[in-house]
Symmetry: C2
Subunit: 345 residues, 2 copies
């Protein structure tokens, strides 16, 4: 065995009896090369199993063909779907994905960002953690590459973003409930200090109002965080003398608590109460009939995010300013058997 490591462009050149420059041109399709030489080079590269050394390529060309993916919480099924969709599309475009999970820990997000910044990736997708850390927006802004925010949009961070119309998400659920005759609707939601939760609740409210209904504010349970929070809230509202006939859950996490609460109360859907939630729980199909869900178009979100990054990458070459538009896609209501007409009680 002659050489220990992987074949270099030099060896290809020697085998094809041309210069390294020529090999590079052939393999990159730059410059003009005669057919015979092209063939010789391609054969030589093929027979040696040559692949260009990424570090050497990057060092010259300045790009890395890698994209960073900074996820607030991998165990959130919705974020995971986003990760899957992005990985697939990035791969198809010839990019590799560097994955960082923040696990909803601000400190971890900070460290991940530092690691990412040192990596010289060509672009970054970020789903920010819920809780901020000091200097976060500044740190994100200082990234020397295109960045796109997904789902959660940071206040004051002027970078492109891709998310759904969260007001519409609330509206779809509310209208569905109303169409089924529900009037007493409860809502479980996170802290409305954050845009997402606020918009979702706004959607509920405006749709109720548009139908001439007023939202019973005592049935709006906010600032819920943990699964147990949501379960407790479920206990609370369903235990009142005049309980709601329908419950809305504002995210994946709270839905788990809602289901847990209902299960412990031995209430069944939709007979005892109708529920509609935001974000698909992939395994909810095991519940007979499934759960009526406002689903986000993960594929389209990933497409838009990747387009934003790649457009920015191309744009940066001609010195264009970083685009910072907000892409807003529409969610979709999937009606399943957790919701039914009111009044069988």
């Amino acid at each position: 065995m002659a050489s220990g490591g992987a074949p270099t462009i030099k060896e290809v050149a020697k085998l094809a009896d041309v210069s390294v420059g020529t090999v590079s041109k052939v393999l990159n399709g730059t410059g003009s090369i005669s057919a015979v030489v092209r063939k010789r080079v391609e054969d030589a590269a093929q027979s040696l199993g040559y692949a260009p050394h990424p570090s050497a390529r990057s060092l010259r060309s300045g790009d890395t063909k890698m994209l960073g993916l900074l996820v607030a919480d991998l165990s959130n099924p919705f974020f995971l779907q986003l990760v899957e969709a992005i990985e697939q599309r990035a791969s198809a475009k010839g990019y590799s994905v560097l994955l960082y999970n923040s696990n909803e820990e601000p400190l971890r997000e900070k460290r991940n960002l530092q690691a990412l910044a040192a990596q010289r990736v060509d672009g970054v997708f970020v789903i920010p953690t819920f809780d901020p850390w000091p200097g976060r927006v500044v740190a994100f802004s200082a990234l020397p590459c295109p960045i796109v925010q997904l789902d959660r949009i940071l206040e004051g961070f002027d970078a492109p973003s891709v998310a759904i119309d969260n007001r519409m998400a609330g509206r779809l659920a509310a209208q569905h409930f109303i169409d089924l005759g529900h009037r007493r609707i409860a809502a479980l939601t996170g802290s409305t200090e954050y845009q997402i939760a606020r918009h979702r609740v706004e959607g509920l409210r405006t749709t109720m109002a548009a139908n001439g209904l007023s939202f019973d504010e005592t049935l709006l349970v906010q600032k819920l965080h943990t699964i147990d929070d949501a379960a407790a809230a479920t206990f609370d509202v369903m235990g009142r003398k005049n309980p709601p006939t329908a419950i809305f859950s504002g995210n994946n996490h709270l839905t788990l608590g809602l289901l847990k609460g209902l299960s412990e109360l031995e209430l069944s859907m939709p007979d005892d109460v109708s529920i509609a939630v935001i974000d698909e729980l992939p395994w909810a199909g095991m519940l007979a009939g499934g759960i009526t869900t406002v689903v986000q178009p993960c594929g389209a979100l990933a497409d838009a995010a990747l387009a934003s990054i790649l457009g920015d990458i191309a744009g940066s070459k001609v010195g264009e300013p970083r685009t910072s538009g907000a892409t807003i896609l529409q969610p979709d209501l999937k009606v399943r058997r957790s919701t039914g007409p009111v009044g069988n009680r």
Copy 2:
């Protein structure tokens, strides 16, 4: 603004009024440097926000500080937990993780492997897809870096592996059932052409035998793949004149089908039937009482896998042969309320 790009070692050298070699030594802790110079260099690097260019570093040193993670199916909650555990540990050791999802598609695994091979990562974790593709073992063996197989072990692929004792997993479940008085035990399992499923069933069988019981082979439903397969199998066995009092599910996927089947049959656990399954479903807590589960020690698996890779990386420097031992860890039975004593029917 003077320079457009990120600061280089040269600029640090100029600012600190030393040579680039000295800067390199200070920053890498190699060679011996006087305290004053060290301080000057560190300050200069600090104030410029200098971070070494990874491509340049890699080109010289030959390593990339990146690890590849080739996952059969990201949407499998168990694999996802493994990914989370590995990412966390790799990050802590200063490695970045390149993620590739095969989505159980052999072709995608093949393409991912090619991409990975071209990336010159320092090591690879692989959870192979269930179905093979022509030349798979050869392709994996040709990787020019340490590799470790996780969970699924490829027949004929002589590389280090980390997995649990799958026979023990079957034994734990069987013994638990038997202790509760169950005698008619059904099992849902994948194709026993694969080691994992085979070992799990073996564990069931030997434990039954050790307790003087014989396994009713008509209650062993093999070659199940989809969720609907498992649901149909559940319908089948529970619909017999003499149905089982307990059901075992061999993996995450089949558990979903089992739950779906039971839900549609309106059978409840553990009153109508006890169930015990392999692999945690993170969201199963919403089912009142949870599901009795044989859990795999994800953290320990990740630790072992990383140690194997890093050990191999260190080893390869002194020219040691690639270690190819199989690390086998023990699973753990978490008893919850889906199992109960037999005979309340």
